[in-house]
């Protein structure tokens, strides 16, 4: 990765600067800027960044594979003698792929928000925070060393905190924002500790140097290499909402719907996948941790999918589905299927953004109603949302030719090739695929099919305007055709594209037999899932209720989201609170200040005794003087 390879790398700074400037300018405009101006700056800055990224992408396409990566340095951030850190960005196929999604899907989502948020009185703040979020995410993917990766990592955490807590007078939103922030700080700590370990072992934080030195400096399969991988994964798990650090994501639904779309589809949660793929060299050195990562991904995809099957809030279904889908990506990355993970990231960005924004249309039309119980028959009212949701559901369920089919099958087919563990995990992935089809079509049937709730809506749900409809249509179209980038047996454009960034790719490739087997199996489980959803929810609410009440204990367990929150509250939060309270009480009672209190008492008592001597009688003083002189004299004589 030499500095001259990609001559346009410096453009990355402008990509970074545009959303940041947008946020700053918007924030500092005195008074209340007009909504039109807010829209222009808010959307325009990110869209302009997207145009720049496309031009970078075009430049890369015209270069040979070796000249698609480049770095650009602004200045030496700090030089400690033993450790030098530059303010430096890395533009390579991986970061450009991420940037295309972040700015592309991001600007569509922000465009959508111009209408979605039109009733909000804090219009400006929303766009400031959205632009800042895009900026933070760009820092994360553009960083050329671990220090700025951590900076981007934390800025994303801050941005998500601000947006999740956007309705800041609502206590539940404030609590959700805090939870997201604190769990993300735990992730930051993992990354920071990994960075300490890298400095200690390799003396550098620069990606290129770390990846070049790691095979010698860390060793293959050593304890240190495994520790680095583990600590990095703590960060990845917190950001990507993997078990056990996943509990913030469902609560993050407290933010406005476009925020959910941005967090889930285009930005934040994919950061963990990005990190593992970026650090593929380090994970190839840590076989045990890679396996552990894959297992965590598989467990997460399964647990989240089961929880999604019982949620009644339309956004929560989608939230858990995100956790589950990220599980697929993490599993792929853990198994060494880096480009497959990134492929799923790409298609997921399209279909998940389409699904969330379509859900936003529904919520907007029903005046902030989010419960599936009070939806039904919407396909007659909200055509755009219906078709977009349908396209999204078909894509996520893996029905050809929708995009999710290609990316999910590539992961599962590759997993079969990745040893015994891979075969087991592919099985989990298949079960998850069936569950996915089930819960997504459950959402589709409950919201858009069947009778209307309580015999009809009070007001006819109003269709959205073009600013909301256009992004949804574009994203739904991408969700439909986005998979053709990489077709089994035919092409692997994405893998070829990413090759310069994934230097340690173990090169797992599925044979034709496995590929066919997976296609057949996954279509079968998807069909079963959809059929089950139709059987349960395609009909009237009475049957629906009667069937849903079976297995009440399992249902309660799933509704409690496997009771992670309760365990954390009891095991971590409450003891910490008690400890703090005890500390405060001890401080008030003056524990540990015994010597000083004693000194105070002694001084006070001494002063009282001495003050009795000062009684104002000259003869007492004279006596004291004589006595003193006598004592001094006696000492002088005795000491001679």
């Amino acid at each position: 990765m030499s500095d001259v390879a990609l001559s346009g790398a410096y453009l990355g700074w402008f990509v970074l600067a545009l959303p940041l400037l947008g946020a700053i300018v918007l924030a500092l405009i005195p008074g209340e800027p007009s909504r039109a101006l807010t829209r222009v700056i808010g959307v325009g800055s990110v869209a302009a960044a997207f145009v720049l990224v496309v031009s970078l992408f075009a430049q890369q396409l015209s270069n040979d594979a070796e000249r698609r990566a480049g770095t650009s340095t602004l200045w030496t951030w700090v030089d400690l003698g033993s450790l030098q850190v530059d303010l430096k960005i890395l533009v390579d196929p991986l970061s450009v792929l991420m940037m295309l999604v972040i700015t592309g899907v991001g600007s569509l989502i922000i465009l959508y928000s111009t209408e979605y948020m039109s009733h909000d009185r804090d219009y400006r703040r929303f766009f400031v925070e959205m632009d800042f979020f895009i900026f933070a995410m760009l820092v994360l993917v553009l960083a050329a060393n671990f220090l700025f990766l951590i900076v981007g990592w934390a800025l994303v955490g801050l941005a998500s905190y601000l947006l999740i807590g956007y309705y800041h007078d609502r206590p539940s939103a404030v609590a959700a924002a805090k939870k997201a922030f604190v769990i993300n700080v735990l992730g930051d700590i993992g990354l920071v500790l990994a960075a300490f370990l890298l400095v200690r072992q390799l003396g550098t934080l620069d990606f290129a140097e770390v990846f070049a030195k790691a095979p010698q400096g860390l060793g293959d399969g050593t304890f240190i290499a495994e520790m680095v991988a583990l600590l990095l994964f703590v960060g990845a798990a917190a950001k990507s909402a993997q078990i056990p650090l996943h509990t913030w994501l469902p609560d993050a639904m407290e933010g406005p719907t476009p925020v959910s779309a941005l967090i889930h589809a285009a930005t934040m949660v994919t950061a963990g996948v990005y990190l593992i793929v970026r650090c593929n060299v380090l994970y190839e050195l840590a076989p045990h941790m890679s396996d552990a990562v894959a297992v965590v991904g598989a467990v997460t995809l399964f647990v989240a999918a089961t929880i999604a099957t019982v949620q009644d809030d339309i956004k929560r279904v989608l939230a858990w589905s995100t956790v589950s889908q990220i599980g697929y990506m993490v599993m792929a990355a853990g198994l060494g299927l880096y480009s497959s993970g990134m492929f799923h990231f790409l298609t997921h960005a399209f279909f998940k953004a389409a699904l969330f924004l379509a859900a936003g249309i529904v919520i907007h039309a029903l005046h902030d109603e989010q419960s599936l119980d009070r939806m039904g028959g919407l396909k007659n009212h909200l055509k755009v949302a219906y078709f977009a949701t349908a396209a999204g559901c078909l894509a996520i369920a893996g029905i050809p030719p929708f995009s999710g089919f290609f990316s999910k099958d590539e992961i599962l087919a590759g997993a079969i090739e990745a040893g015994t563990l891979g075969k087991v995990l592919a099985g989990v992935g298949l079960v998850g695929a069936g569950l996915t089809a089930f819960y997504m079509f459950r959402l589709l049937f409950r919201a858009f099919h069947g009778p209307e709730p309580d015999g009809g809506y009070h007001e006819t749900p109003h269709a959205s305007g073009s600013a909301m409809a256009a992004p949804v249509v574009i994203l739904a179209a991408l969700a439909t055709v986005g998979g053709f980038i990489q077709i089994p047996f035919v092409s692997h454009n994405l893998r070829d594209w990413l090759e310069p960034a994934i230097t340690a790719d173990p090169g797992i490739e599925a044979g034709h037999g496995q590929e066919t087997l997976i296609i057949v199996l996954s279509l079968a489980v998807a069909a079963i899932g959809i059929a089950a959803a139709w059987w349960l929810f395609g009909s009237g609410p009475e049957r629906r209720l009667a069937r849903a009440q079976k297995l009440p204990r399992l249902r309660a367990f799933l509704l409690d989201q496997w009771r992670f929150d309760e365990v954390y509250e009891a095991a971590v939060v409450q003891p910490g609170r008690d400890l703090g309270d005890a500390g405060v009480r001890a401080g008030e009672r003056g524990v540990g200040q015994g010597p000083v209190i004693a000194a105070e008492a002694v001084t006070g008592a001494g002063a009282r005794i001495l003050s009795r001597v000062e009684n104002g009688l000259v003869r007492t003083y004279a006596m004291a003087v004589i006595a003193g002189a006598a004592i001094v004299g006696a000492i002088l004589i005795l000491a001679r």
């Binding site: 400690l80 206590p171 400095v199």
Partner: protein
């Protein structure tokens, strides 16, 4: 031009000039205070500009003999560590005095005069190149703070000041004994009776001497820091001082202890420092944990910030006691960072409590609605305080822990608990007051006004500058920190490639006892 002397004497002259102000002459008092504090800041800025960033030793030294035979001299200078503390002191005091000029408390003359006196004391402390001078300024700065808390303080001020003075005096008496001991023991080894910090460098004390002398100094420093469990004076003083004085206590005075540790304790008594290394590291870790946990559950805004400060200073102490160049540089940077951030935090707390009339966190809420600017600034300060990556405080903490991790990975890992807790308590502070349903006061009443902006804007700008370009400060500390840390690194038996500065033999081979050596009879050694 004797820059350093001028910087110390100007605020002192300003304080004395208050005597010329007639009682009730509030305007004159303000003019005097503002001009002298501003002049001091201007001189400091010039000195920072002139300062040679690559040199390791003291610069701009002013040396005037007074009673040279007994080692008493006016020796002031700056090096790569003290220059930043001088700069921090001048800047924070200038802002504090500016703020005080906007809304002067009653008895303005006395208040402003004492502030200037405290400034002179702290500047002298950070510039002192001689142990006696260091001690004089150490004690001298206590006096103005005593009166500032005792006369303008809150309800429980008498007990608070008593405790403050008992703690500090206990420490400084031990330090006095240690100072005399150093000079006497030093004379036995080098044949030269001196209190000069440079002349005392590299003296080969026996292990026992080094341990006892270090202990004498360290207790004073640790109390001043304060480090758990010697923090008993802190809650009362911080709670009862006028908020402006609390700002100064936390932002500037708390640096006296860490500065003593890095400037005197560790470099002059390397073996002693090495002996107590783990004790102090454990105390720092305990302070981080204790401060964090207790800060989380504090009922009032002010005490939450006070305990967070306890935790943050633990990080600085940790960075110094790691005897690592990077950690040391991080510690110096973090002294400045902590000063800037905690000053801003206490200022905001002062604004909120004064205008809402509420002290308790639970009595407040939803202020962001009427005060968007204050909320924005508060958010930045809160993030800097919890050392979020991307803020200035992160830079310092990162370097500290990088260095600590290299030698004691467990200590760095434990310190990370403090980072996690910091997120929890700072968010409590921010969210409870700014977010949620409106409670306590109308947001518009606490919104930033001109005087708040005048104080907070430079602080925020400094945070931004350090975050983007930490090399501005760190780059000038390299040589000095390597030089200060080298003796301890040798004592700790570090590999040669980690030690980047040499330690000259003291006495040099050719040294002879000075002819004017004072009375031979003073041979007893107080600290053995």
């Amino acid at each position: 031009m004797p820059w350093v002397t001028a910087i110390i004497l100007l605020p002192l002259a300003g304080a004395l000039s208050m005597l010329a102000v007639p009682p009730g002459g509030v305007v004159q008092a303000r003019v005097h205070a503002f001009l002298t504090a501003g002049g001091t800041l201007a001189l400091t800025a010039i000195l920072v500009g002139l300062f040679d960033r690559d040199a390791a030793g003291p610069q701009y030294e002013d040396r005037h003999g007074w009673a040279t035979q007994v080692g008493l001299e006016w020796t002031v200078n700056v090096d790569g560590v003290s220059i930043w503390l001088v700069a921090l002191t001048s800047a924070i005091f200038f802002l504090a005095i500016t703020y005080a000029c906007f809304r002067t408390p009653e008895r303005a003359r006395g208040f402003l005069g004492l502030l200037l006196l405290a400034e002179a004391g702290l500047l002298g402390l950070f510039a002192a190149g001689n142990l006696v001078l260091f001690y004089v300024f150490w004690e001298a700065m206590l006096v103005p703070f005593y009166f500032l808390i005792g006369m303008w303080g809150g309800s429980d001020r008498v007990r608070a000041t008593t405790r403050f003075v008992i703690y500090t005096m206990a420490g400084s008496l031990l330090m006095l004994v240690a100072i005399l001991g150093t000079a006497f023991v030093g004379r036995e080894i080098t044949g030269q009776f001196t209190f000069d910090m440079e002349a005392l460098r590299g003296i080969d004390f026996t292990r026992n001497e080094s341990i006892w002398l270090f202990a004498g100094f360290a207790i004073a420093f640790i109390i001043k820091l304060p480090l758990w469990p010697f923090h008993g004076w802190m809650p009362g003083a911080y709670r009862n001082a006028p908020i402006l004085v609390t700002v100064l206590l936390a932002a500037v005075m708390s640096k006296a202890g860490v500065y003593g540790l890095i400037k005197i304790g560790v470099p002059l008594f390397p073996e002693g420092a090495e002996y107590f290394q783990y004790h102090i590291i454990v105390m720092a870790l305990a302070g981080i944990a204790y401060g964090s946990v207790v800060a989380w559950r504090q009922p009032t805004l002010r005490m939450l910030v006070a305990y967070s400060s306890l935790a943050h200073l633990g990080f600085v102490a940790l960075g110094i006691m790691a005897f690592d160049n990077e950690a040391g540089q991080g510690a110096v940077l973090q002294m400045v960072n902590h000063g800037v951030v905690v000053a801003a935090a206490f200022t905001i707390v002062g604004i909120i409590t004064a205008r809402s009339g509420r002290e308790d966190i639970d009595d407040l809420g939803g202020l962001a609605n009427g005060a968007p600017w204050l909320a924005g600034v508060f958010l930045i300060v809160a993030m800097a305080s919890l050392a979020m990556p991307g803020t200035n405080a992160f830079v310092g903490e990162f370097f500290i822990l990088t260095g600590v991790f290299r030698h004691h990975w467990w200590a760095a890992a434990l310190a990370c608990i403090g980072i996690a807790y910091a997120a929890v308590y700072m968010l409590r502070l921010y969210q409870s007051s700014m977010n949620g349903p409106r409670k306590g006061a109308d947001g518009a009443r606490v919104e930033m006004r001109l005087r708040d902006t005048v104080v907070l804007l430079p602080l925020i700008a400094a945070m931004g500058l350090i975050a983007l370009w930490p090399a501005a400060i760190v780059g000038a500390t390299t040589g000095t920190v390597e030089r200060l840390m080298a003796p301890a690194q040798i004592a700790a038996g570090r590999p040669a490639d980690q030690i980047r500065a040499g330690v000259a033999a003291n006495p040099p081979e050719a040294a002879l006892p000075l002819p004017g050596d004072p009375v031979e009879a003073q041979q007893e050694v107080p600290a053995q």
